[in-house]
């Protein structure tokens, strides 16, 4: 038996720190404190059958390693259309899908952030994929603008449907808008083969800027970047 000064309560058993607040306990002089030879434990200490956290961490690391290895190995194989086959396509497809699943699971509590992450990831992977298949610029022409445009709509829908608090989403909404303007850059630099998708995406982003609440974004930014 000991006493927690933080909670001002007695604590039964041989805890060194308060199980509620973590404050170091002071022993009570009734012979059953932490110093006594055989403290009476109110509950049996039962060994863990497994540790879900450990299992998940190991699985996560192993699968991340496999995904990274999959992407890296592709570099060693030929980067031409002829050297590409259904086997490599499904291999990379599986690795990408798994990566998306991991992000979706990790960020399931904040869907706006998950959306922003997914946009960046899909953009990078498709550009890499395009490079591996001999660079036809389909990623920058189609994939990136379409994904960016969709994400702007997705965040709008999410905020409505989930009735999110401004603090939880404004930054990500702003981020998707910023990313939505990136295809415009591709267009200016002449990296795309057809201008229409990039133009549509940029138009969507600009339209979104006009309806979004800039002041809230700034307020949230100043809060997050506060020194």
């Amino acid at each position: 038996m000991s006493r927690c000064r933080g909670c001002e309560a007695r604590v039964e058993g041989s805890w060194a720190r308060c199980p509620l607040c973590g404050t170091e306990l002071e022993p009570l002089t009734d012979g059953t404190g932490p110093g006594s030879p055989r403290p009476s434990e109110p509950f049996a200490a039962v060994a863990l059958r497994y540790s879900g956290r450990r299992v998940l961490r190991v699985l996560l690391l192993v699968s991340l390693g496999m995904v990274i290895a999959s992407f890296a190995l592709q570099l060693l194989l030929p980067h031409t259309e002829s050297g590409w086959g259904w086997l490599r396509a499904s291999w990379l497809g599986l690795a990408t899908t798994w990566l998306l699943v991991l992000i979706a699971l990790r960020e399931r509590r904040n869907l706006a952030r998950a959306t922003a992450y997914l946009v960046v990831l899909v953009g990078l992977v498709s550009a890499y994929w395009d490079y591996l298949t001999g660079w036809h610029a389909w990623s920058l022409t189609y994939t990136v603008p379409i994904v960016c445009g969709s994400s702007i709509i997705a965040v709008l829908v999410l905020v409505r449907v989930r009735r999110m608090e401004p603090g939880d989403h404004v930054l990500y909404a702003a981020l998707t808008i910023a990313v939505g303007l990136v295809p415009l850059l591709f267009l200016v630099l002449g990296w795309v083969t057809t201008p229409l998708p990039s133009l549509l995406c940029a138009a969507l982003a600009l339209a979104q800027i006009t309806v979004s609440r800039g002041r809230e974004v700034l307020r949230e930014l100043s809060r997050r970047l506060h020194l």
């Binding site: 927690c4 909670c7 001002e8 309560a9 007695r10 604590v11 039964e12 058993g13 041989s14 805890w15 060194a16 308060c18 199980p19 509620l20 607040c21 009476s40 434990e41 109110p42 509950f43 049996a44 200490a45 039962v46 060994a47 863990l48 059958r49 497994y50 540790s51 879900g52 956290r53 450990r54 509590r109 009735r163 608090e165």
Partner: protein, 484 residues
């Protein structure tokens, strides 16, 4: 082969099978702390004697095409040391075993029961008789022969009700009472509807089209609820314990000190404790945000309205809600605890009158007697109940359960220092029980952190209550401290 007694699973129990999960195996534990180290051999003999008087506790659970059913068995329950986490699973589909276990640890005896078998009151009867038998075997209370005989006479009288065929639900709420109430195993135990009455109502609206959802939600802060908008219910999240065992924190305190507080507020002890828990959650939430409504599910023992001596599940759950004012979403803001308790009590009272409960239950039983739902195969029923249960879970923040003041049969009463009561839970929950002037409130949740309990303790201490804390060890670090 002998013809074994069997009974379709009673009214309230099926939800426990459907809602079972790794996090919440629907097991509860009743415990008693004795004034000496428990003698396992004597406890074993006492258990054998007690089980003979409660044939229901010999039952195993089997699966039929349309229903689960309880079947008598010859299994011999064994007293075991406390080697599993509290409220470890008891029912495994396909491996019919007994639905309860008796454990001992130091001076504590624990009775763990799968909730589909009996409810807290039923288990309490069993534990009381078990402890009395144990202490008699130990030579306690042997002097008062007269007392013992009357005690046994009562038990003998009661034992016919404690068999496998005592379905209190059906007894009280059949539309047309059957005149002869001779036990009729084949027609026994009408359809399973969820014990959580709200769940059953949800099911009713799923099954019968056109049934309108009933209102009747109490305790709502009319100002905060805002028009027809369904209020957003706050839900507690957190890091789960490593092997999904419940984190139990047991608070023991002098019952008088808390009773004085609840009387000063003009509410029942249950309402006061519920208000404390609500405040504990709010103060540890780090801001409620827009989800300012906290909803609590409370089981009500129906035996107090409709006398029954069956230990089978016989309770209804009511739901309480409290919506905090927008400025109270900030955990730093002080809220009047007494006011909160009174508002909870106001929401609670009308829901637990005998008439209100009887009306709800009759409607339920009527639904269960309809042929359509009864013809649904069991796996599909399970699935439906699981969906309903998940929907109900999303609208609940907390659960509370109070077994009240307990008097054990002699000689157990004199040798039990305090009693404990805890339930496996998917959401933060407390279970209260008081015995011999000691109130024990056990908080359970599948989460590692116990911030809401810390806040409850501090609220109690600030009001002059002497609190003693006992907690289970759940993380690797905590277990390493004691060398496990």
């Amino acid at each position: 082969m002998s013809t074994r007694a069997w009974a379709r699973l009673d009214n309230a129990s099926n939800i426990f099978l459907a809602a079972r999960s790794a996090r919440d195996p629907k097991v509860f534990r009743l415990g008693a702390e004795l004034d000496h180290e428990v003698d396992p051999a004597l406890l074993q003999r006492a258990l054998e004697l007690t089980v003979d008087r409660y044939p229901l506790f010999r039952a195993v659970l089997r699966r039929g095409l349309f229903w689960y059913y309880l079947q008598g068995s010859d299994k011999h329950p064994q007293v075991v040391a406390d080697v599993l986490p509290p409220c470890a699973p008891l029912y495994e589909p396909g491996h019919p075993g007994l639905l309860f276990r008796v454990v001992h640890h130091g001076d504590r005896v624990g009775l763990e029961v799968f909730h589909a078998l009996v409810d807290g009151t039923g288990a309490l009867w069993f534990l009381g008789d078990l402890l009395a038998a144990y202490l008699r075997l130990r030579g306690e209370g042997a002097g008062t022969d007269a007392e013992r005989e009357t005690g046994e006479a009562i038990e003998a009288d009661a034992s016919e009700h404690r068999g496998i065929t005592g379905d209190a639900f059906r007894h009280h709420f059949r539309r047309r009472r059957i005149r002869d109430r001779a036990p009729d195993p084949a027609r026994f135990a009408r359809d399973a509807a969820p014990a959580a009455l709200r769940s059953a109502e949800e099911l009713a609206s799923l099954v019968s089209t056109g049934a309108t959802r009933r209102g009747g939600r109490a305790g709502r802060d009319a100002g905060g609820a805002g028009g027809h908008h369904r209020p957003r219910v706050h839900r507690v999240h957190g890091e789960l314990t490593p092997d999904l065992r419940p984190r139990t924190v047991e608070l023991s305190m002098p019952a008088d000190q808390v009773l004085v507080l609840s009387r000063a507020a003009g509410v029942s002890l249950s309402s006061y404790l519920t208000a404390l828990l609500l405040e504990g959650v709010r103060r540890s939430s780090g801001g409620l945000g827009a989800a300012r409504t906290l909803a609590v599910s409370v089981p009500v023992n129906l035996r107090q309205f409709f006398p029954s001596r069956s230990p089978r599940n016989f309770f209804a759950t009511v739901r309480l809600e409290h919506t905090y004012a927008p400025h109270e979403a900030d955990p730093e803001v002080e809220v009047d605890l007494d006011e909160l308790a009174r508002s909870l009590e106001e929401g609670f009272r009308p829901q637990v009158s005998a008439e209100a409960l009887a009306a709800r239950l009759r409607r339920l039983i009527g639904l269960e007697q309809m042929l359509g739902p009864r013809l649904v195969p069991r796996p599909l029923k399970d699935l439906l109940l699981r969906v309903v249960n998940a929907r109900v879970n999303r609208t609940l923040t907390l659960a509370v359960s109070n077994l009240g003041r307990v008097r054990l049969p002699e000689p157990a009463e004199a040798h039990v220092r305090r009693m404990m009561f805890e339930v496996s839970a998917v959401r933060p929950q407390f279970c209260a029980i008081s015995h011999a002037g000691v109130l024990t409130v056990s908080f359970t949740a599948p989460f590692v952190r116990t911030d809401h309990v810390r806040e409850v303790v501090r609220l109690l201490v600030a009001r002059g209550v002497e609190v003693s804390v006992a907690a289970t060890r759940v993380t690797e670090h905590e277990l390493a401290e004691v060398g496990v």
